[in-house]
Amino acid sequence: MTAIYTIWGYYARWTARWPAMAAFVPFVPLIAAWGFIAWLEIFPPVFLPGPVEVVERAWTLLYKGILTDYLADSLSRLAVGAAVGMCIAIPLGVLIGLSRRAHDFAWPILLFFQAIGDIAWLPILLVWFGFGLTTMTFVIVYTVLFPVVLNTVLGIRSVKPELRRAAQSLGASKPRILLEVTLPGALPNIITGLRNGLGYGWRALIAAEIIVGTSGIGFLMFDARRAGSVEEIVVGMIVLGILWYIVDSWFLAPIERATGQRWGLVTS
């Protein structure tokens, strides 16, 4: 028993030093199981390649610069789409959150279009814009839009009325109240919306790349299917997971910690 505790102690200290490593550890048994099943060759290797083959393939793709190019393509599409989406969604959410009339007008429309999933737009988008960047950007903007709008509305409405009253009694004008009270109060929810939106947007982007892409991780995976390279498909899948982990835990989560959690608005 004590040996287990000692090992656990080492592990705890080690992961505290390198948190990124701590995130990798849970995957060790998963990869081991995968390697074992592949090694047994229950399925033929062309169906299920082992970890070693996949890493080799990833290395080749990296070496040729294909992986990095495609990665950059996917990420910049996500960034552009998310930026445009936020520029529309946050002001819209603020407006709907503040004005009863705007809410009554926009809400049914929002719910209607929310029901039409991002991918359901692809057929008509292909007719309108063809196979290209516009179509993909549209899909991401569309996907990012709803969670950000809905969470912004929620955030604006959850600002305690007493805070606005306090600001009014201290002489704040309406625009100042919006800037100093309403928006910061809604910020934690806006960030949550953004986090969800980016997550959905990332998935929608890969789907869009599979269908309309000429580059990008989604395209890489679909193209590999055509070429019969299962290794490459698996490389694509793994890259998707790793990348999302990095975006979420290195960028989004720290922003969340620095705002809502710091201010005591959300408990971690």
Partner: protein, 252 residues
């Protein structure tokens, strides 16, 4: 600081679910002189918050007038500082930023604000906590910030709605003594709402007993100052006055 007058004030709430009218305040008249400290007591639901919210301009009146320094109140404004039961500090602003929010809104420069922060944080005994966020402070400390945030904006009248009701009993007595001390030194015009009779008698020059939306009686509190709890707990005059007000509140 200026005087405050309520003239035949009334408030009727409409209940949209039942379709009925509910009169919370009927015909309340009250004068608070410049530099006076008036406490309003009464059982829960008798309309104390309604009166304060109307003076603050948060809710419209149904009848009568509210005059502050000779001008009629229309909506909230920096001439009436408010201290809330829930503190209502801005969670995303540091203690110093909270205290200087009012001056910032009227365009005070950075240097000016730094001076104001220094002065008022010292008044609250919170100079060490200037850069902390409200959620890092105890309830008592948060309400100290709430009080000096209102004072730092130099209001004509200070409105306080059960400001010490959500802190523990010991802290409450300390806060009451601190508020008394500040009032004795600076003489702001204060309206202090509470359901705690001894708190009202301890702090105020005059206690107004409210009952079902109207004034039952105004009781003068001629206790000498400075007031501290150590002197007053055994004081006969304090006990007599407290008992008298308590009887009124229980009848209310």
């Amino acid at each position: 600081m200026k005087s405050l007058a309520l003239e035949n004030l009334s408030k009727t709430y409409f209940d949209p679910y039942r379709g009925t009218q509910h009169t919370a305040i009927k015909d309340v008249s009250l004068k608070v002189d410049e530099g006076d400290f008036v406490a309003v007591v009464g059982p829960s639901g008798c309309g104390k918050s309604t009166i304060l919210n109307m003076i603050a301009g948060f809710v419209p009146t149904s009848g009568g007038r509210i005059m502050v320094g000779g001008r009629e109140v229309r909506g909230p404004g920096p001439d009436r500082g408010v201290v809330f039961q829930s503190f209502a500090l801005f969670p995303w602003k540091t203690v110093a930023e909270n205290v200087t929010f009012g001056p910032k809104m009227r365009g005070a420069s950075k240097e000016e604000r730094a001076k104001i922060a220094e002065e008022y944080l010292a008044l609250a005994g919170l100079s060490h906590a200037a850069d902390r966020y409200p959620n890092e402070l105890s309830g008592g400390m948060q309400q100290r910030v709430g009080v000096v945030r209102a004072l730092a904006n130099n209001p004509d009248v200070l409105l306080m709605d059960e400001p010490f009701a959500s802190v523990d009993a010991q802290t409450r007595m300390t806060l009451q003594e601190e508020l008394t001390k500040i009032w004795e030194e600076r003489r702001p015009t204060v309206i202090f709402i509470t359901h705690d009779v001894s708190e009202a008698v301890f702090l105020a020059n005059k206690v107004v007993v409210l009952s079902k939306g109207h004034v039952l009686e105004e009781v003068d509190i001629p206790l000498k100052r400075p007031r501290v709890w150590d002197d007053l707990v055994e004081d006969e005059a304090f006990k007599t006055l407290s008992n008298h007000v308590l009887q009124l509140v229980r009848r209310a």
